[in-house]
Amino acid sequence: MVENKQQWKAWLYLSPAIFLLLVFTVWPIINTLRMAFLNGYGNMAAIGGATFEFGIDNFLKVIEYKQFLQCLQNTAILCVATVPISTILALLIAVALNSIKPLQKTLQTIFFLPYVTNSIAIGMVFAAMFNIVGLKQGSNIADTWGIINNVIQFFGGEPINWINAGSSYVANMAVMVVYIVWNALPFKILILLGGLQSINKQYYDAAKVDGTPKGRVLTRITVPLLSPMLAYVIITGFIGGFKEYSSIIGIFGDKMGPADAAGRLNTMVGFVYDALARDRQGRASAAALILFAIILVVTLFNNKVIKKHVHY
């Protein structure tokens, strides 16, 4: 029988994938839940024969932990700041790109370039651009400022200590926002431009016949017709924002903050890894589950808001 033969053949073909998924995906889900609800679970201790009680101590510890609240705050600020900025910028760029003919392909390639970079490597470039170059020996007076401050001074502004020791939290966050937006643009432009190109050109002809001003075409026709793509980039933007980690490493290094304030820019994911590195798997699991819950809630909330406005 063909059917029976197909049965065992299918499972044969699927076996490597299923085996690996069981070990590295399914078991972690179960185990993470288990560890999260065993008070104070640590793997080394567990191997040493320690036993742990069932409870929600890990979650309470995580929430009480001051560092965790800082991480949550950093992550939330980064999300709320970068998602709208990058989405609006990407929309404008995509619309502009879609309206031109000469240079379109070239510009499209340029705008995609930040995507094919290593976020840690290019983070180091951004760090160099914002950095204060060469402090005078034994003093805090910079004898040169980095290129960004040079530009600010050129336009008559005061240089700012962006990322060095003694820099302010606001300045640090501003640098992160700039870098994350720069990094997030290519994907959003790609998706939105693809969406724009699939919109029937006749809608624009119809609007033109009626003398619709450009701004109104954007808000009343383009945005509604693009709303499924916009919803997609906003949701993936939020999910990505909540998992922000390596871009901060790129700019600030493992210290996750300026030299005199290590850990100030740590994020939720960073918190999970820190706990993991200290053999606090219970706490790490609890934090990861909280992160998952937050992402889930934000996504559902986004979905609900978007459903009201999205036209499919």
Partner: protein, 297 residues
């Protein structure tokens, strides 16, 4: 009753409208290009700054008034970067991990996608649904247990730890299954009638037809190896197994203050170059792959 278009148009100066219309058309084209070019400059500036900085002497880099083209081209920065950061070893490590995981991953993905797209078996829909559901869970959640698992398997500080846990990507299986499903089932049945084996059919018919997707997966997988940082840092951060990003970051821990930036920028440029080269050659595949996946690496 308000005016309608017929009346509005009656009393107007065609010449004036014509002029305004030409001017506004020109202005809007000009504004569009100006906006795009300025944004393009902003996007490109970090790359430009990376390259010119990498070619400056430290003294020139630290000048109060920045130079926008190096006075003296210091190619020696690149040699220094290469040796300081042991980039050669890092390249080889990364290439090794990238190639092995790509090949194994492709085999597993193709077999699974074929089973889901072409074969009938009990619980197919349920299994596929369960797989898709795992895509919603953030990867960080798996990392904790996988770290323990890898540790218990004795894989710490081995390439195995870098390769095996990430061989299966549900998303790639999904992507390829969709692609396979577009290939008419009659082709498969015809091959069965001719007595062609599954593997031969896969190799001769389905893989060539799904080649663009496979290339996209390959590129994304390689880029993933190139850009991976967090997991290697946890399980294989020793000199012998270090991946390129970790090595780069570890070699230049100092990102602020007195660091030797020209050398650091040269190292970053070396690490970024292969990605750009691959991108310029395979732009089409990368962009189509990314627009469907939305996942970095």
């Amino acid at each position: 009753m308000a005016k309608n278009v017929q009346d509005v148009m009656q009393s107007r100066d065609i010449k004036k409208i014509s002029a305004v219309q030409t001017a506004s058309r020109f202005l809007s084209k000009f504004a569009t290009y100006a906006f795009l070019l300025i944004m393009a400059l902003i996007v490109l500036f970090p790359f430009y700054w990376m390259i010119i900085s990498s070619l400056k002497t430290l003294a020139e880099y630290r000048q109060a008034v920045p130079t926008f083209w190096p006075r003296q081209l210091m190619f020696s920065n690149y040699a220094e970067a290469f040796t300081t950061a042991h980039l050669g070893d890092l390249f080889l490590n990364t290439l090794y991990v990238g190639l092995i995981s790509t090949v194994l991953s492709l085999v597993i993905t193709v077999l699974s996608a074929f089973a889901f797209a072409r074969l009938e078996f009990k619980g197919k829909e349920a299994l596929f649904g369960a797989l898709l559901a795992t895509m919603m869970i953030p990867g960080e959640l798996f990392t904790i247990t996988n770290y323990i698992t890898v540790n218990q398997l004795g894989w710490m500080h081995t390439f195995t730890a870098l390769i095996v846990p990430f061989l299966v990507s549900v998303f790639y299986i999904y992507l390829l299954r969709q692609n396979f499903m577009q290939i008419p089932n009659e082709l498969y049945l015809a091959a069965k009638v001719d007595g062609t084996s599954d593997i031969k059919y896969l190799w001769k018919v389905m893989i060539p037809l799904a080649l663009p997707t496979l290339i996209s997966i390959t590129i994304l997988k390689m880029m993933g190896a190139w850009n991976s940082y967090i997991w290697p840092k946890l399980v294989a951060n020793d000199a012998a197994h270090q991946m390129i990003t970790n090595g780069l970051r570890n070699a230049f821990t100092d990102t602020t203050g007195q660091a030797n930036y020209p050398v650091q920028m040269a190292a970053v440029a070396i690490v970024s170059a292969p990605l750009f080269l691959v991108f310029l050659c395979l732009r089409k595949y990368i962009m189509s792959g990314v627009s469907r996946s939305g996942i970095k690496g």
